[in-house]
Symmetry: C2
Subunit: 159 residues, 2 copies
DNA sequence: CGTCATTTAGTTGTGCACAATTTAATTGTG
DNA sequence: CACAATTAAATTGTGCACAACTAAATGACG
């Protein structure tokens, strides 16, 4: 399992840097998206929500959160801002009054056309081959899975 | 999924997922650190600042920011919280009154002992071999470099 | 020397992430 | 049916990231 025979200092330094590298890369993406998304009037998290809606159509807040691993504490104010921007509509479900359905407005649907240009610019900015991106993505998802599993073990009460 | 067609949709989906995977991995690390750092009374960004100080000793805010790629807008309140927690001291430099030197208190120095346990737990949680972590880190740093360079081109006015 | 540009921190405002709590609706069980 | 447990959103509060701005000190240059 974790029996890798390595001195403490190496262990320490290495693991420090993987999370730091990850954090730095994530923030670098954030900066780039901020620039690219600016004339769409979207932040990066808002863009992710729009991607989910463009792909899946109307969804309850809960489902949007499952796609993005976000809870209502993050989504409620974010969706309110998207609603203020006339990109989405929110309405209580008739079948289950607890649920709030998020749907695209005409404006929100129309925005997709302009958003199509975004991914290409981002991908180009990485300078990575598609295969390499794919490979990196696979590793990252595996890492996330491992971390999630470990987090559950760290807090057995909440799992 | 083939690599032959490059319609916008494929392109879109792929690049969407690399940044999303990155974001997810970064947040998964955040969750794990939150748990592990809880009994040190540190958040993850605070932990990074402490790592810098433990490694380099007293530094002006500017230098801390360079190590972590953070500006005073983020660091000032963060350092104020660390000061409130009696982990660091801040004082104006005598040589350059613009500069504020951040230094460890006895308590801050002592905390290092307890922090030594942290990296091991994190590294173990990834379940990755060291070589694999190293490889991933290299790729991420390369990605960050490419994104930074691209960001500069996107905003030529600031470069 | 005086003036202006630069540098360093700090402040303000916006938005996201997340924990904890609240409210309301639904479901399960006796 | 009544009532406890569960579920979905929203709210509250804390902290981080970042842009834009301010204030104060320093440096450059005529």
């Amino acid at each position: 399992m974790t029996t890798t025979p390595v001195p403490d200092d190496d262990f320490l330094r290495l693991d420090q840097q993987i999370c730091f590298s990850l954090n730095a890369a994530s923030r670098a993406f954030g900066s780039l998206y901020r620039v690219v998304l600016k004339d769409l009037g979207l932040t990066y998290p808002q863009y992710l929500v729009m991607l989910v809606l463009w792909e899946h159509g109307d969804l309850p807040v809960k489902k949007v959160g499952e796609h993005l691993r976000l809870d209502s504490g993050t989504l409620s104010p974010l969706l309110k801002r998207l609603e203020t921007a006339s990109l989405v509509r929110r309405e209580r479900s008739a079948l289950d009054e607890r649920s709030v359905l998020v749907g695209l407005t005409g404006e929100g649907t129309a925005l997709r056309e302009r958003a199509l240009r975004v991914p290409r610019r981002i991908a180009a900015a990485t300078g990575f081959e598609l295969a390499e991106i794919e490979d990196l993505r696979t590793r990252l998802d595996r890492l996330t899975g491992a971390l999630d599993a470990a987090a559950l073990e760290e807090t057995p009460g909440s799992g």
